[in-house]
């Protein structure tokens, strides 16, 4: 089954996961690339996006599996035809066959930008670094049965803190994204909870790369 790698940036970050699937279904239709439909009484065109992205988060490494109905179309042509009819912010970067099995997707790289409107307080980077060096770090997480506590440390593989300018601190992390998975925003939640004096005014999140369990790029 073919797969496409796409980015979701700019205005498009506000499009929800379900809406994004609909958006792609329509884009395929506009591009005259008919999708195979599911069987059953109410057939739906088949598309599947791996790892739903939270609303508001940017990504340059989204994956979507699809299946075309009818004659095969060269991968580059699929990419270009879709890009002509997609909305600003959603852009197909690559189309390829034989992607790896989604179940082998294990880790992702993310960048959190902590914004401090009145300037980054002295010692923020050091304090954040020290925080994530703790042996355990329980943070509340929403679940189907209400909030539960989750230790996030075992799910963080790498983490790097930098102060780029007077107003932002970045947190680059590689975290588990499947079984178990860590929502990168939980890193910011940890800062809020344990370092209230370094709480940022706003946090932006960006997903930058996907890996398998061995740390090889996942395609």
């Amino acid at each position: 089954m073919p797969r496409l790698l796409f980015e979701k940036t700019g205005n498009a970050v506000w499009i929800s996961h379900l809406d994004l699937m609909r958006l792609f279904q329509r884009a395929f239709q506009r591009a005259k690339l008919p999708l195979k439909h599911s069987q059953g009484f109410n057939p739906r065109p088949y598309v599947a996006v791996a790892l739903p992205l939270s609303v508001g988060v940017e990504s340059v490494c989204e994956l979507l599996d699809f299946d075309l109905d009818g004659a095969s179309v060269p991968d580059d042509e699929i990419r270009d035809s879709l890009n002509r009819v997609l909305v600003d912010g959603v852009r197909v970067l690559d189309v390829y066959e034989d992607g790896q099995k989604i179940k082998n997707l294990a880790l992702l790289d993310c960048v959190l930008t902590l914004e401090y409107d009145r300037g980054v307080p002295e010692g923020t980077a050091e304090a954040v670094e020290a925080l994530f060096a703790r042996p355990s770090l329980p943070v509340m997480k929403k679940s189907k049965n209400g909030p539960v506590e989750q230790d996030i440390i075992p799910m963080i593989r790498q983490l790097r803190v930098d102060q780029n300018d007077g107003h932002t601190v970045t947190l680059e992390a590689r975290v588990c994204c499947q079984n178990p998975s860590l929502n990168p925003m939980q890193l910011a939640a940890a800062v809020d909870k344990y370092l209230p004096e370094f709480r940022p005014d706003f946090v932006k999140s960006r997903r930058v790369a996907l890996y398998d369990a061995q740390g090889n790029i996942f395609r």
Partner: protein, 612 residues
């Protein structure tokens, strides 16, 4: 997008409705734009983007050279709160620029209960609510839509109204503005000129005087030479009319999330309570050929997988067979769901329903509106018990097990016998199911809903009393006590909203301050159950000293000057009076196909005949 908005968006529900950026959104280079129009829909994005009229006029204005029309919707309450807290003024989606930067601010108004949203949007935009406090040509506020057929409740707030279908008149208005802006006219000078465009009404050019008993005595022109009658505009030849095949495809789910093709305008039926039925006359069709081409173009361009054929009564579209014969195979080939709402219970429609797959999902829907044949004759609703039961019998034997029935309570001449007639009809539907159902194990669901009758302007019932809310509720309870079967679910709309709707539908200038007062007290999004709060309204009427009963239970005299009399929708007042008389005699008036009843709307046509 501003950093501020970026920070607000993660905190509100469905942020995609505030960002714009959808497929086919129109962006223009400001350097080549002379007139900026903020096209405001006084309800949420999901409702507004489902509105065909807005989509047409968005296209019409953006086709104009030097004009950029952008969209604005009512923010949901969470966003409104964030805007107020952060001093973020209302913005238009395309450019994200504040509404107060725009030359023209246009509203399309289809429903009385969005009046507070209009005022609230002006307030959130940072504009004065009253036209008299907006002194410049810039930010001129105008409005169209069905509610413009009785514009008086909004007379204080809107600079001018545009009556009827907007395809042509909007172009004339915006072109005149273009000239006015280039030549540096004052607002006053522009209003004087725009008033000369047929179909334009400038309320500030007239004074309304009231008699001692409170009725409207006189409408006095304050400016020499201004018109005293305002005739709505229509498009005669729909085949040649502008049709937006490149429609915006929302990136987030909306209420009618599908392509929508309008097959004809007007309605041949003339149900006496129905404002659309009278005010949208004359009847004009589109040819099946043009419609098919537009359908294909729209579907290919949008990528939608659902297409709906819309109109007031699609079964009456003369080209329906030809069009569906072509469209059904096309849709099947392209895996498009074709839906045809508002089908009547006639033979052809029954056939058609079977050929469309979408019907099964929605079940069978009937709107007999009244429970007895006598009352259906009074309201001229040409739907018989036999038609309903035959359609049900067919459907039940075909496996359907779900029926919805819609009625009104409080119709003129209605008695308890008519109310109980509803229960009777529902039992006959259940009996029909018992006699015809193929699979009784699945059970039957009959959903019955009653609405509170609202007398509307420009209908034969425009003079009628509305019954009291207490009496309406008594009739609801009476009906309820006669439903014994577990298959029936009965919903009745609460009376409060319909009572207000009755006030504003037939309101005059004295109810304007009530709208403002209610909004100041917190009324907003009144069409939404989660926000509607009747007590704001009751308090506002009290505070303004306006009596709701005057507009509801009092009824209007046939010799009374009505606030909407100057508005001419084509149908004559004489015809409405005649129809009212026939209603009291329980005489039906045949539909336009059986013979022209002489409503007068054909006088709006110069090139073609009515319903040709």
């Amino acid at each position: 997008m501003t950093e501020l908005l970026k920070r607000i968006l993660p905190t509100v529900q469905k942020p995609a409705r505030y960002t714009g950026g959808e497929f086919n959104e129109i962006k223009k280079d400001l350097a080549s734009v002379r007139v900026r129009v903020a096209f405001c829909f006084p309800d949420t994005y999901e409702i507004g983007m489902s509105n065909l009229g807005m989509r047409i006029l968005y296209g019409v204005m953006n086709e104009m050279d030097g004009v950029w029309c952008e969209r604005v919707f009512t923010p949901w309450a969470d966003m409104e709160q964030a805007m107020v807290e952060n001093h973020l003024p209302l913005w238009a989606l395309e450019s994200q620029d504040p509404v107060k930067d725009f030359d023209m601010i246009a509203f399309t108004i289809g429903y009385e209960m969005c009046y507070t949203n209009i005022l609230n949007m002006l307030r959130l935009a940072g504009l004065p609510l009253h036209s008299r406090d907006r002194n410049d040509l810039k930010n001129i506020v105008f409005a169209g839509g069905v509610c413009a057929y009785n514009p008086e409740p909004l007379a204080d707030f809107i600079d001018f109204f545009s009556l009827g279908e907007g395809e042509e008149i909007t172009v004339e208005i915006v072109s005149l503005y273009d000239r006015a802006k280039a030549e540096g006219w004052t607002k006053e000078a522009f209003l004087l000129e725009v008033a000369k465009i047929p179909g334009v009404y400038v309320p500030s050019f007239y004074r309304h005087e009231y008699a001692e008993d409170g009725t409207l005595a006189r409408i006095v022109p304050l400016v020499e030479g201004v018109p005293t009658k305002f005739t709505k505009r229509i498009v005669e030849d729909l085949d040649k009319a502008y049709w937006p095949t490149k429609m915006i495809v929302p990136s987030t789910e909306i209420v009618h999330d599908r392509a929508n093709l309008e097959v004809f305008r007007g309605c041949i039926r003339g149900c006496r309570f129905c404002q659309a039925g009278f005010s949208c006359r004359p009847v004009r069709r589109k040819s099946a050929k043009v419609l098919f081409d537009q359908a294909v173009e729209t579907m290919e361009d949008s990528g939608h997988n659902e297409l709906t054929l819309s109109s007031l009564s699609t079964s009456d579209f003369r080209g329906l067979k030809e069009l569906t014969d072509d469209l059904i195979p096309y849709c099947a080939d392209h895996k498009i769901n074709l839906s045809v709402p508002s089908l009547r219970a006639d033979n052809f429609s029954r056939d058609l329903m079977e050929r469309l797959q979408t019907v099964r999902k929605s079940g069978l829907t009937f709107a007999p509106e009244a429970g007895t044949q006598r009352l259906r004759d009074v309201i001229n609703k040409n739907l018989t018990e036999e038609e309903i039961l035959t359609t049900c019998a067919n459907a039940f034997s075909g496996g359907w097990n779900n029926v919805k029935l819609y009625f009104m309570l409080g119709l003129p001449t209605e008695t308890d016998e008519d109310v109980l007639g509803i229960a009777d009809l529902v039992y006959k539907v259940i009996k029909t199911w018992q006699a015809n159902a193929v699979n009784k194990k699945r059970g039957l669901r009959v959903h019955v809903a009653t609405a509170f009758f609202v007398p509307k302007p420009h209908t034969p019932f425009q003079w009628e009393k509305q019954i009291t809310p207490e009496e309406y509720l008594r009739r609801c309870r009476l009906l309820k006590s006669h439903f014994y079967s577990k298959s029936i679910t009965y919903d009745y709309h609460g009376p409060d909203l319909s009572r207000l709707e009755a006030v504003f539908a037939r309101g005059d200038r004295r109810v304007g301050p009530v709208i403002e007062e209610a909004m100041n007290r917190g009324a907003k999004l009144d069409g939404w159950d989660e926000f509607f709060n009747y007590s704001y309204w009751v308090d506002a009427f009290d505070a303004c000293g306006v009596d709701m009963e005057y507009y509801t239970t009092r009824g209007f005299g046939e010799d009374e000057l009505l606030p909407w009399d100057p508005m001419d929708v084509g149908v004559t007042k004489r015809f409405l009076q005649l129809e009212r008389k026939r209603a009291y005699e329980a005489k039906v008036t045949p539909d336009c196909r059986e013979g022209c009843a002489g409503c007068g709307a054909n006088c709006l046509l110069k090139e073609v005949d009515c319903d040709a």
